[in-house]
Subunit: 352 residues, 2 copies
DNA sequence: ATGAAAGCGCTAACAC
DNA sequence: GTGTTAGCGCTTTCAT
């Protein structure tokens, strides 16, 4: 006989005043007059429960407003939640990735909890560890700054899928990436095709990590310039992502030397900044200066902006990564490295 | 106060190729030759541990790369993580709030995990419940769509602070808001002061919730118009936040009747859309049409856009809400309802 | 100052 | 089918 009732008052829920005593599986069991195990089985749709019992249990669950504790559940089984790590919040490209991930995970019954890493490896690590310690069933990392070595260490503890971080040889986790090299190539080729010769690139300060997307975009840029026999005109400006001191980093392009014919930017963030600066200085776009960005961010599509940009299909990348993670959760162990082709969206900021 | 335990640093973790066997508190205890309770005390900086013992334990922790399981910890004590619910991801105002919240919580040793509600009450609820079930120590809700009644029910189960949701009479949770009415007022007054008479407002489709920020902004708008004796010229256009069919909702302003002198928009999202449409139609801003938005979003500050807007001080709101939540976690039970004064930022889109 | 032991809410063998 | 019973990894009395 079920007698293991702890000192938890009546099964009656709060009437509104005091903080809820949490309804546990035991309350449900006793209310339904069955064992705790039976309730657990109903919860998990496990094999071997009669329709009667299931009905009784469901009724009590409803009546008591019971919700299983994910935390407790996670100690033995799954939490059905996955942790998503975002580099930062302000890049307007990321929402589309999040959307894709959430949609796909939701279909599979998983919740998505997001942590924001502020583009700092140390924060990313503490976030990842928190997520693991919260017993998330899997990790979905978007453009993490931490190295592949560290990633694989985490991947040992918890299934991991990574977006926007080239690590095609990784054995313990999956990756989904845009073909950053070919994206850059098509941007530069289009620029060259429209008559530009001195095509520069605006990129980030160099890091020693070759897996960063902008490193591959630089490679694509250089390759395209070389193939056109214009290596001499190639130049990569490296500036911070956001101004963090006085003076705007993007200004260097205008302040030093002769204006290039066109600038290919590693990201719309820089490209839009550039468009605004050009406007302020009375430089005509695209007549005097052509610009192509990367990400096809919503702002780039605004008539007042009209920025040509490389569309990465963020939502597709998100969906794809989520699917990878799910299949890994389902048991796959051999790594999967998916590359998605980007495409150029032409707007006012370039000729042709 | 939680402790910042070193994660799996350079220390040798598992020597093998298989998935890590998790290092538990028991491994540490046995390695250090002390009891499990002792380790727990060290972990929590609890009273009554000798320096020797603490040192021994710390050494083992380091050596084994031990991290306490937040999930297990949550079953008795705190998880030191709080759940943040965002209405949606694409509103560029939200990152600043997130930043404020994270900064403040981080100082207090808490992790912030974010869920995105897609502006749907049902999703919000399931997210909130997940967060509670994951044993988050507190909830920080940003512009939730769910009603105050439901909110207070959750507040019974877990400390809650809410941003951007007017519920000044709530007894069980805290709120932090911008003074939306006065923000709207100052926008409209500035517009009227610059000579505009027929000032319209662009708002969202009406809901039956008076707690929504745009409802208060409407009130401020109407009040300002009334005080200027211009109620007859007042008109509120209600359009969807984003186009979800063919044709853009903002077009109504141009398509029906005479053009207003100025439009005050409940959000920069609408205002920027409006600016773009005006540009496309060759309507001169601010000569033929003045526009003021709300949120002072990064895009509004761009030279190519030049949108006047109401600055809500999102980061401050975030910080403030986080502080409220923390003080509630520390034991406060009487509610706190804080209102922050916004201010107008003048740019090209208005005269004067 | 330290440790043994009783849970926290749940899952999963294994009995019956 | 259904219930009993060990734990999961941790916190927290309460002895010692």
């Amino acid at each position: 006989m079920p007698q293991s009732l702890v000192g938890c008052g009546e099964g009656v829920l709060d009437s509104g005043k005091t903080r809820n005593a949490k309804v546990t599986i035991r309350h449900v069991a006793s209310d339904a007059g069955v064992s705790v195990a039976a309730v657990s089985k109903v919860l998990r749709n496990a094999y071997g429960v009669s329709e009667e019992l299931r009905a009784k249990v469901m009724k009590s669950i409803e009546k008591l407003g019971y919700r299983p504790s994910t935390a407790a559940r996670g100690m033995r089984g799954r939490t059905y939640s996955i942790g998503m790590l975002l580099v930062e919040m302000k890049n307007p490209f990321l929402p589309s990735v999040v959307e894709g991930v959430k949609a796909e995970l939701r279909k599979a019954g998983y919740q998505t909890l997001i942590g924001v890493g502020d583009a700092k490896a140390s924060i990313e690590r503490s976030l990842i560890e928190s997520m693991i310690d919260l017993q998330m069933d899997g990790l979905l990392l978007v453009a993490p700054r931490i190295s592949g070595t560290v990633l694989s260490r985490y991947a040992l503890q918890c299934p991991v899928a990574v977006v926007g971080h080239h690590e095609a040889s990784a054995k313990t986790f999956d990756t989904v990436n845009s073909n950053d090299e070919s994206g850059a190539r098509s941007a530069v080729e289009a620029l060259l095709g429209s008559g530009c010769k001195r095509v520069h690139m605006l990129s980030l300060p160099r890091t020693n990590e070759a897996h960063e997307v902008f490193a591959l975009r630089e490679a694509g840029y250089l390759a395209a310039m070389a193939e056109a026999g214009l290596s001499d005109h190639a130049h990569i400006w490296r500036v911070r992502e956001r101004p963090n001191g006085p003076g705007d980093p993007v200004d260097v392009i205008f302040d030093r030397g002769e204006l290039p014919d066109a600038v290919f930017c590693w990201s719309d963030i820089h490209a839009i900044e550039l468009l605004n600066k050009a406007h302020e200085r009375g430089i005509a776009v695209p007549d005097q200066l052509c610009v192509v960005g990367y990400d096809n961010t919503p702002v780039s599509a605004m008539p007042l902006i009209g920025l040509s940009s490389i569309e990465q299909h963020g939502e597709v990348m998100g969906r794809t990564a989520a699917k990878s993670l799910l299949s890994r959760l389902a048991g796959r162990t051999d790594p999967e490295h998916i590359v998605i082709e980007p495409s150029l969206v032409r707007r006012r900021s370039m000729r042709g």
